[in-house]
Symmetry: C2
Subunit: 331 residues, 2 copies
Amino acid sequence: MRDIQSLFIKNILNGTRSNLKECGTAFAASNIALCKYWGKRAVALNLPVNSSLSISLGHLGTHTEIRQGNQDRVMLNGSEMAVNEPFVVRTLEFLDGFRPLLGNTYFEVRTQNNIPTAAGLASSASGFAALVMALNNWAGWELDGQRLSMLARLGSGSAARSIFDGFVQWNAGTNPDGSDSFAEPMAQIWPEFRIGILKISEAQKPIGSREGMNRTVATSELYKSWPAQAEADLATLRTAIDTQDFTTLGKTAEHNALSMHATMMAAWPPLIYLQPDTLEQIHTVQRVRADGLEVYLTIDAGPNIKLLFLEKTQATVAAAFPDVEIIQPFG
Amino acid sequence: MRDIQSLFIKNILNGTRSNLKECGTAFAASNIALCKYWGKRAVALNLPVNSSLSISLGHLGTHTEIRQGNQDRVMLNGSEMAVNEPFVVRTLEFLDGFRPLLGNTYFEVRTQNNIPTAAGLASSASGFAALVMALNNWAGWELDGQRLSMLARLGSGSAARSIFDGFVQWNAGTNPDGSDSFAEPMAQIWPEFRIGILKISEAQKPIGSREGMNRTVATSELYKSWPAQAEADLATLRTAIDTQDFTTLGKTAEHNALSMHATMMAAWPPLIYLQPDTLEQIHTVQRVRADGLEVYLTIDAGPNIKLLFLEKTQATVAAAFPDVEIIQPFG
């Protein structure tokens, strides 16, 4: 698997010479998928079964700095992490694929997340995107966003989308070599768009996303219908974004997210990331919507809820969900 | 729709003469599906998309008495019900199909459920089965179980299975006229089999099963994969019952039930019968099973949980779930 990734990286760089500066830096925004990525068609290259579409979180994300070191070191939010921490292991495994292209150097990585840690937002997307962009900056490769997204994808699938801001589509592609599976930004700006975070739990997920999606693909009969739904949802979402049709966007995103969770619930052993409090809030969203408040939800592979709404309902949403943390993706 | 049902009833009776006694009585046991019925291929005749398989609840069910009256009257558990009560409306609509065959008489129906009303167990299955059997007894038709199950099916799909005791299969059939969609008993006896009821809520379901399954079939993309899963699960369950392989039976029943709920969660608007406390108990079942206790669950279109286990673990199950109400289906 590492060999496959190393070869892929070499092909992407395609002979580009490295010209190391003192250090490389980059910022990448986190993103929330409106049409979810769930299921790999090839594990080694993180190639997805279905295309996905996300909205980035503007200034919320990861800032990363990388330079040569005397040994591999990873600092997260100002603290040096032990080399056996899963975060460090995953970061260094990823960087291993780049080492031969950078003179087999040691890496010193400083990562800073400005995503409120209490918000329960995944940081691997912005983390691997920022890392790849920092590498690109450090080595002077000047790769375009398409190539950067393919490299970020190797670290975490959803990181492919965090290379860009705003609405972003990650094309699943069909080539076995992964050369057509990359992200592309959409031009549309929607300043009134709001995202509300409802934190349910900060606990580590008992089953990670990778294992979760592999189990779903392997054991969930209902998953067989997922790719067709995701494809249809993505097309609907693109049109809704084009026409700023919030109702269609919200319905489609919520339907898509709950359908993804449904594919997991139908796996064996059952995979249920939703907690009792998640379900309580899902029922609340359905109730306030029935009362006329236009708010929708999406949920990643975890217990936390993201509300989707427009600026004009912000006060009402905040009243209905007192703990909500509101983000302006285009703010 | 009523005309279609009336014609179907006439065809089933096929000229059989009615010879009314003073009154007709019958008892039918409630049943719990291990492979769920979810989705109709034809609404008017209650023809299911998939075959299903259940276990009856022994002495827990409905006792019904029917006789001629001066007006239509329905007594439930000793109390006369108002004619506009949904229970009465549904009962009389069903009986309307039989009226022309019984001299256009008025009906006086006395129904007694000995299912603990607190248990949250559906009573429509045993209710319509007992009603059909009481009619058969009253009119002296001497119909066989196959025909009785087809008549009961018109009142409530799952009532087809409550005509028989023990493990029962309801064949979906393929004929548009409904003539091959009937229940059949399995011969196997499993005295060690136990069912545990975990009551979560007694509240009326906001969306009834009929509307729920119609919405699922119409809007849930994932539902398209349900019939294939149900067919496979049914075959697996039959073999597990034949060989008394409880592990396979339990896994398959739980997987089947959660997959059914998954098809609903993927409907639009989302259909989520599970309550926060249901989810809490689902997580508890997963946890105690990981600890080595062999207990599985099934959930009908509602919030309440039915545990499946064997006699040998009864004390441990009762300790892990203090509120459980234990039923011996073969007791």
